[in-house]
């Protein structure tokens, strides 16, 4: 397959025009990035190419042959493979078994597990990857799960490879490695399509960059012509603003951790002898690779996890008004099958229509409506289900709920993970504003840029121990 032509594809969902007359050519041997904000139509576009969605009009042609539309199985047989944003692994099956799942040819056809295992190993070696083939998928580190996911979905006959935001769950090192492997694929003449919203990633790996905005193709530029400024402008329609509010520390006593030790789920020592002080109005960042005690630290500070030794106090008290903003809003932040107003009420004690015994729905609904407007949540109304919102808007709902109680202490754990630029900026500016209003903020994040932008000082967490404050600005500019 030399190239893939997308010809005037349009697709509407109800009143929303997700794609409008989009035409693009993807060439073999190139990494072609499709860039855009959440909701710009990137995922819709690749879902159409991979056959998961049937477009309202338009066609897709590859080497003079039309691809079947809306038939993922046929499309796959013709060599179009897609690696989804969310993993599709069966957690309790081994890596080799998961791999086999992606490469079953016919129902009822016999499978030779040894052969599949060897196949997985040889393909991994080909990519310079190591995968423990017999380990359960759930026991593999996230980076390895991702590689397995890729090998599972991409067959040896795949000519068009689509990656839908593959780095969303990876650390920076893992992301860099993954992006390198994209080059490996394109070097063998395959068409590689990368969906992304992080500019730095796109600039580091893509040969060709196309930008979508609100379902319309804004433009397609060569890597040599692209700069982060002009790409951001294409994505957002206006130059991005990073107006950092200057925090005036009001420095009264806030959160204080004195030689705190915490056990992890496996009774291992997750946090050892950690001491930290965050004054009110201060944002303290904690960096470091996931799995070094970040999760346990956030749980200990929010009081969900018991500490083994040491002391956590907030201006002398045990229970400050607390806000917790988790990174995984689906798993930790929201009850997805409940409505927005119900989600906004979670953890609310009293006021705005919440009485000791009953809920005054009229008051609550209008309170919820105001809150959704104030936090710029895109929704039809407060009675929408939380599951119906996009990731960015779901996170805004979490932020709205947590900040509405005027917290004294905010704990945020990777609060912008997987969000697009605008939504991330919104979350960060909300944190800044809350700290200006006198909250002590503990921001735990794997995103160095984020820490540099928002935090007053940054420590790193490694093996459950805290480093001395680092000069983050210098690290990022390097």
């Amino acid at each position: 397959m030399k190239s893939l032509d997308v010809r005037s594809i349009s697709k509407a969902f109800g009143a929303t025009q997700a794609l409008q007359n989009v035409s693009l050519t993807f060439k073999g041997g190139e990494v072609h990035a499709v860039l855009g904000e959440n909701g710009a139509g990137k995922s819709t576009l690749v879902s159409v190419i991979a056959g998961f969605l049937k477009p309202d009009s338009g066609s897709i042609v590859s080497d003079g042959e039309e691809l079947p539309l809306g038939q993922p199985h046929l499309t796959r047989q013709m060599g179009v493979a897609m690696v989804h944003q969310h993993f599709t692994l069966a957690p309790s099956l081994s890596a080799a078994e998961n791999y086999t799942l992606g490469h079953l040819t016919k129902l009822g056809c016999l499978v030779n597990p040894r052969k599949k295992e060897a196949e997985l190993k040889s393909r991994a070696t080909e990519m310079n990857w190591s995968i423990s083939a017999r380990e359960k998928a759930s026991a593999l580190p996230v980076g390895m799960q991702q590689r397995l996911e890729i090998l599972k979905n991409i067959g040896s006959n795949s000519e068009v490879l689509i990656f839908d935001e593959p780095t969303a769950v990876l650390t920076q090192d893992e992301s860099a490695e993954l992006l390198q492997s994209l080059r490996h694929f394109s070097a063998s003449g395959k068409v590689v399509i990368l969906i992304a919203h992080k500019l730095s990633e796109v600039l580091s790996v893509a040969d060709q960059i196309s930008v979508l905005r609100k379902g319309v193709l804004i433009g397609s530029v060569n890597r040599s012509e692209a700069t982060s400024e002009n790409l951001a402008e294409m994505m957002l329609g206006e130059p991005p603003r990073f107006d950092k509010v200057q925090t005036e520390l009001n420095l009264s006593e806030g959160l204080r951790l004195d030689s705190v030790s915490v056990l992890g789920d496996a009774k291992n020592r997750a946090i050892t002898n950690l001491s930290l002080e965050i004054r009110r109005g201060e944002i303290v960042g904690i960096g470091g690779v996931d799995g070094n005690g970040q999760y346990e630290l956030s749980e200990a500070v929010t009081g969900v996890r018991k500490i083994k030794s040491g002391q956590i106090r907030f201006a002398g008290k045990i229970n400050p008004v607390l806000a917790y903003i988790p990174g995984d809003r689906r798993a930790e932040g929201l009850a997805l099958s409940l409505t927005l107003w119900e989600n906004l009420l979670i953890g609310k004690k009293r006021g705005d229509g919440v009485h000791d015994g009953y809920l005054n729905l009229k008051v609550i609904r209008s309170w919820a409506r105001n809150l959704l407007t104030k936090f710029q949540v895109k929704a039809l109304g407060e009675r929408d289900l939380a599951s119906s919102l996009s990731g960015g808007n779901q996170q805004k709902v979490v932020v709205a709920r947590e900040l509405d109680r005027n917290p004294e202490l905010i704990v945020a754990l990777n609060p912008t993970r997987g969000l697009d630029i605008k939504a991330s900026e919104f979350v960060r500016s909300s944190l800044l504003k809350a700290s200006n209003d006198g909250a002590a903020v503990l921001l735990i994040s794997t995103d160095l840029d984020e820490l540099a932008e928002v935090a007053d000082r940054v420590h790193f967490l490694q093996g459950g121990r805290l480093s001395e404050p680092s000069d983050i600005k210098a690290m990022v500019s390097q």
């Binding site: 119900e342 809920l359 407007t373």
Partner: protein, 359 residues
Amino acid sequence: MISEHNKAKALLPSWASQLLLRSGLYILGFGLLLALTLATFHLPVFSSAELLFHGAFGDQFGIGRTASKATPLLLCGLGVIVAWKAGMFNIGGEGQFVSGGLLGAAVYPVLQSHHISGSIAIVCILVASAVGGAIWAGIAGFLKVRRGVDVVISTILLNFIAFQIMKWLVSGPMMEKSGGLPETPQITSKDILWHPNPQTDFHLGIAIAILVALVIWWIQYRTRFGLEMRVVGDNPTAARSNRLSSGRRQIEAMLISGALCGLAGGIEYSAMAGQIGLDFNQNWGFLAIPVALAAGLQPLYAIPSAIFFGSLFAGSVNLSRYTQSGDSVIYIIQAIVVLGLVAGQTWKMKSRRTGEVIG
């Protein structure tokens, strides 16, 4: 950012048009199902359907039968809803029904010895049976929260224990002294739950059950307690990070669920059976699961759902003209209804999943 709600609102409130559409589709689908099942059994479709309908709603006896069968279905169905919404898959409605009935029957001789009778006695019996059911479900709730024992398994096993305890009690400690049958003493007629017309099966239970359904709806959707139970059921992790005590809510949900099933047992005992014998468990606790599922786990929808299934069981007595196994036909219909609903759910989830790709 909040746009105007859709314009269909003008004609009917959205929930009402939803309800109309839903019930219309249900009735249509059910009619087809019924016809197919009857035809499969070589029963004359139209006359059998007419008999069914007549048996359920044709006269005061039919209506009484329907109401008396809908009562335990509704109460146990509500029990299922409360527990399942809190993420506790209580399959033990039957055991809780039995233990409720037993505690009610155990209290009765005590009341008699204190010369308490009439409505006070009935209230005491019903409260005791609710407590009995709550204890039985509470065991499973406690085991789940404190020891991590799967609720499905523990409630199923507790069912068996309840049945065996019942066998032992009615043929031993609680057996009627005079007769030689394994039964508890018969309730005297003035202590029986109120029947407007003693000749029919119609009794106060259905009104109690409907009232309870309204209360449960209110608790679930208009109180913080209910909201918390549903949050815990939908996403325990989110509940945890918001510092809600999931375990407590789950145990409370099981207690309420068990109390409802126990109350059903108490009403069955004090209004219909009048005593507890070996045939006391008529599987209402199990039959209520499809009732709850057909209601989409919504307490208010459980009312029509229970009346609907109740009327099927009530009407099936009339099928004996054509077949000895009228009940079986109804069980089959019930099972197919549930399968259809499960299929519908899957389909809905599937379309939701493809929807997720968007954006």
